[in-house]
Amino acid sequence: MSVTKPLPHDAAKLHVSGAARYVDDIPVPGDTLHLAFGLSQIAAGRITELTLDKVRAAPGVVAVLTADDLPFANDVSPSIHDEPLLSGRRISYLGQPIFLVVAESHLAARKAARLAQIEYQPRDAILTIEEALEADSRFEEGPRIYQKGDAGEAIDAAPHVLEGRIEMGGQEHFYLEGQAALALPQDDGEMVVHSSTQHPTEIQHKVAEAIGVPMHDVRVETRRMGGGFGGKESQGNALAVACAVAARLTGRPCKMRYDRDDDMMITGKRHDFRIDYRVGYDDEGRVQGIDFVHYTRCGWAQDLSLPVADRAMLHADNAYHLPHCRIESHRLKTNTQSATAFRGFGGPQGMLGIERVMDHIAHALGRDPLEVRRANYYRPAGEQPASAEAAPEPAPKRVAPGDEVDLASRGAVGQVPQSGLPKAPEGVQTTPYGQPVQDFILHEMTEALLESSDYAARRQRIAEWNAENPLIKRGIALTPVKFGISFTLTHLNQAGALVHVYQDGSVRMNHGGTEMGQGLFQKVAQVAASRFGVDVSAVKITATDTGKVPNTSATAASSGSDLNGMAVKAACDTIRQRMANLLAGLHQARAEDVRFADGRVTVGEADYSFAEVAKLAYENRVSLSATGYYRTPKLAWDRIKGQGRPFFYFAYGAAVTEVAVDVLTGENRILRADVLHDAGASLNPALDIGQVEGGYVQGAGWLTTEELVWDEAGRLRTHAPSTYKIPACSDRPEVFNVALWDGRNREDTIYRSKAVGEPPFMLGISALMALSDAVAACGDGSVYPALDAPATAERVLMAIRRQQGQG
């Protein structure tokens, strides 16, 4: 069977030969126009005078548009319509698009965009957490609070109490292919849009609104992205809408791609967080009660910030049973880029909070943090009572006529389950939001990883090294990951597929997922090939297309292969069943006895090639085309109460990282990482390991070298790779052992696999905790390092100074 095979990425040969096409590589008609935005140079205030004469007069300029020139909706928000394509008078951040230049070339558009004369009346920008709190500048009416038990009482009653704070920076996606879109006007008002997007339906919806047509007049196609990481879930809206509006206006194809600096100045990034904690624990380090306060800078528009901040709360426990827990979350509105989805979607931030707490408790007790972590783990799956009550299906939601919410966006407001939430079975440990944890496998995974990484002996050797070396200290840490899989906006957990079989037995497959490098298309093709019993080469993978599969959810939340794999399976099985019924009739056999394997279809003594069966089906007037549909079962979630089962299951992983730090400069590097990750029964181990390796390095980058710096005026100073440093080749761990945990998903997912896109990102937390361990070795052990992220050389040196009683 094709599934479980470590096949290369479906486009690998195109990648290596430069033949894989991205949006900017698509051949365009000769009269194509090119677009660029003129950007605000202040963070907050009003435009008092906008003079665009020089822009209009610049060579090659065809048109210049401001907010007043837009024919329909001036809105590219994926949530509450608070994100105009062009600013109008009011300026909300430095880098905000004010006007749109339409020109004969990319360079002409960029040059003209800099010629505007703009008078501003600035006001004090709200940039920091303090400033936002003081001004009560926030999204939602107040902080969101989830709780379980009575955290305050449990903390007070605990033998030990400590409190602390961790600050963690945001992160630029740095997809290698910048944002890009191309709009091709058709006859009768239709628009075809090629977009580098994780969410073609969202693009379709926003473009339709912007050019005043029903969604059926807009077709969006996405063959592949040069990286997404969440940065192309909503951030491509502006370019696609701009292209469509300009194409409608001029009747000519319009293309827009951001120059890298523009991309970094305009688009949202990972949310930065501050987390305050107060925890009560016993002599073993077991948490009795814990109180978290999350503060996050969401930027100027709501975008997807509510579900991001929700997911941070939902991962405040990570792998640990917190009997009494309170989490308060402040979603602060600031005059900076609108923070957006980024791999993990708040999960990493929430998880880092509790990992800091574990590290801090261990330091206070003088124990190996590993022991404290294990003492707090949820009980093993085998020791939990099984069979949680299935969630009742939520009652259908009524949408009022004229309700223009973007239903397919994670920024939409979710329905509240009407028929109550499931109750956890007696004796089962639950998360702070009441979901039973019944698939917990980290005890055995941790044990296996400790063995394979030789943790105990290395910890000993590191202690010896640190005793002997005054200027270079080493550290080591193991951190676990438990990540919830499903969109927390329950209705997004659905997918569709369209599968055709042709007379020659070749298969053309389409689904709602998008390909951004993760290998989704290949995995799903492997599913299709397996259903038909043919080689994967018989399955043609095609571009995501809103004209083929409608109403798709974003390829996000790690859901791609879970949802689309199941939808494709359903479509294939429909066709297969029709074929089986046909053959059963012809051979007086039972349909279930027809076998599809190795490119052959057999029933009793009869043996056909798959192509022969396709031909036979056609001749017998049996349809060879089918749609497939899937929706994730068992989900019920109330995000206001913070109660229910938002996740179908959890994905697990653990990493051991060893680092070295320079006592004199704070320079640091990762020496070795050992990773064990749970992908269930992997659909493609090679692609899954690729996700794990890449996720680890990206996660470690977030916490070490990747630093976003804004100045006092609100200008992002790190807006290019010259100043914003993602990991380079030599930053990966020199010794890097990655393995997949051999197990099947307990839930009925596609071939019992597990989602693997986001969870490995959080394995990188072990790097920060290893740095904390190394810094602690720079003093007498009396001071907790309290290392913030990103742990640049500078932050590490400051932490070392605190160890030495300075600073």
């Binding site: 040969k13 030969s17 430069g18 320079d662 090679a686 890449g694 080749c729 990966r732």
Partner: protein
Amino acid sequence: MTITFLLNGERVEVPQAAPTETLLDWLREKRRLTGTKEGCNEGDCGACTVMVREADGTARALNACILFLPQLHGKAVRTVEGMQGPDGALHPVQEAMVEKHGSQCGFCTPGFIVSMAVAHANGQRDHNDRLAGNLCRCTGYAPIVRAAEAAEAAPVPEWLEDDLTQIDPRPQDMLPETADALAAALEAHPEATIVAGATDVGLWVTKQLRELERVIFLHRCRDLQQIEVGETEIRVGAGVTIDRLHAAMQERHPSFAEMLRRYGSVQVRGAATLGGNIANGSPIGDSPPALIALGATLHLRKGDTRREMPIEEFFIDYGKQDRAPGEFVEAVTIPVQPDRLRCYKISKRFDQDISAVCGCFNIRVEDGVVAEARIAFGGMAGIPKRAAHVEKALLGQPWSEETIRAAEEAWAEDFTPMSDMRASAAYRLESARNLLLRYFHDTGDAPVLTSVLEVRA
């Protein structure tokens, strides 16, 4: 100007080439060779890497986004499309990348393929260094390095052997062939912008969108590209690229070479020149502090008039150098000396990052006493600058930790660094001070391990 070069084995002539049209734009827009990608348009990501071979056979990986067409005159360019054989056969590094799962989103992949193919052609196996100029956001690099290793032993495909004899690059205006011709051209056009490797001027064009009225390219002046090792001094021509300087310093001043290993990336070091790194006057250029610490002399030329000065005197103030219009940097001479030099580059990322602080130390100790001290820093002031007060505080003192600690106050007299996105002023000052301690431990009788780059798991 008419520019002639080989493109994927085929002779091309670009008549009336605009002096600042980049190879990347030309490839993508005029030739529809879209395999070469634009990732950052400033030479930092490597997605646009192309192979450029010179008449002497040297093959380099360069960033097409900041490579102006005139820089290719008389050379052979291969893009990712030119890595496959005429029959479509994959290059060994392409095959290995498929086999080892080295591509995910695929956007950076063409650049990696070219960098890997260049290293493969040159027999270079220091993959971390060879690939430091190519960023990948998907894979975490591990499978890419596995692919590079897997292809090491494969023979170099014969189709990569470009025959440069068929080009016949005609001399062109603004492309002088000798230093004399350059001097004459600059006398005639003192307002012209001088371009050597374009790793800095390239960004004036791609990022600041500046129109450069007149550009004079000096990369064809062979006589500016000589390294002459004499009895008392080493003379390095202004047109010597950083990769060649790196090689030249490996034996004599290995710490300088180690710092140059981290200067930019392969693509940058293959284009950038020593003269450019000095003449642009950047306070964060990495070669000036080392040259100051070595007591190097700068040689300037205007027409037939030459003058020289200790290199530190060239840097007058931020953005201001002692160079007259029409004058150019001709060479640097470094006194031959026993190696006491240590160069320490502090940056957020080890590879391909601009220094927050670059400190270079050259201290001579006689009978336990500091007899001579030359200490210079980049990133600590508006210019590359000597730590004169610190040097003075050390001179004549016993070479000890006590002396170093006693000199602590002097640092603030020498430097009042600024805070920016690379580091705070406090960090700059503190790490600079600590680097003197590192130098002490590095050069002592019982050396102590001082670099995390030398630690292995």
